[in-house]
Symmetry: C2
Subunit: 128 residues, 2 copies
């Protein structure tokens, strides 16, 4: 069970590690009814076979679903698997939300006193 989930997370994160694949997902997000492969590929400066390869990776990771209707293949987003990736990341949320709370308090203090100073540099936050 755990092994299966690990393999699933490997596939999901690996699928998301490519900018064209993320852009394909973002494009699918727009249309509720899905898109044909050629519609989907249209704005990309990538060959159709390359798009097909990316779609196979996304499909194997469970992030999209391909359905053949007559002569066209319809691609739909299947975002449930992204929820698994998000659930994994969420355990770390308390770390960065602590940091954001402190930043919010700092900004609030500053605006109260109206004394303009520089916001904390990113390095200061990282050095916590």
């Amino acid at each position: 069970m755990v092994k299966y989930q690990e393999a699933e997370l490997n596939d999901i994160f690996a699928a998301l590690a490519d900018p064209t694949r993320r852009a394909l997902l973002a494009r699918l997000e727009e249309g509720k009814d899905g898109l044909s492969v050629s519609e989907l590929a249209q704005p990309f400066d990538v060959s159709l076979p390359a798009v097909m390869k990316h779609l196979t990776v996304l499909s194997n990771a469970g992030l999209i679903r391909r359905q053949k209707t007559g002569r066209t293949v319809n691609i739909r987003l299947q975002p449930e698997k992204m929820a698994h990736a998000m659930a994994w990341l969420r355990r770390y949320e308390r770390f960065w939300s602590d940091g954001l709370d402190r930043l919010a308090a700092f900004v609030e203090d500053r605006t109260k006193n109206e004394t303009p100073t520089d916001p904390p540099a990113p390095q200061d936050q990282e050095d916590r």
Copy 2:
């Protein structure tokens, strides 16, 4: 700017696509003050050079920070970058939150007609 963010997301998701690297991050989550490389590597059935390689990938993705103190290298979690990955995933949340609402309603209906059960054990939580 966008190019930079894309490259950053590539590195983060690629770093998370390996179960040993995810386990290393999970282990770092426990200790606030970080761990030495040998402490960190101890429970893993992987050679020290292999662990070092994984740490380089995590460090290049900005997910950990290595700091040399005397003769030991201290490794700390740097979870801010995971927030970037999470922010990317969050745009898809509306898709699955619809589904989760339906699931919650279903579970609520079921538990109304049932006797109370034990809360989930910590392991169950991790297995989600």
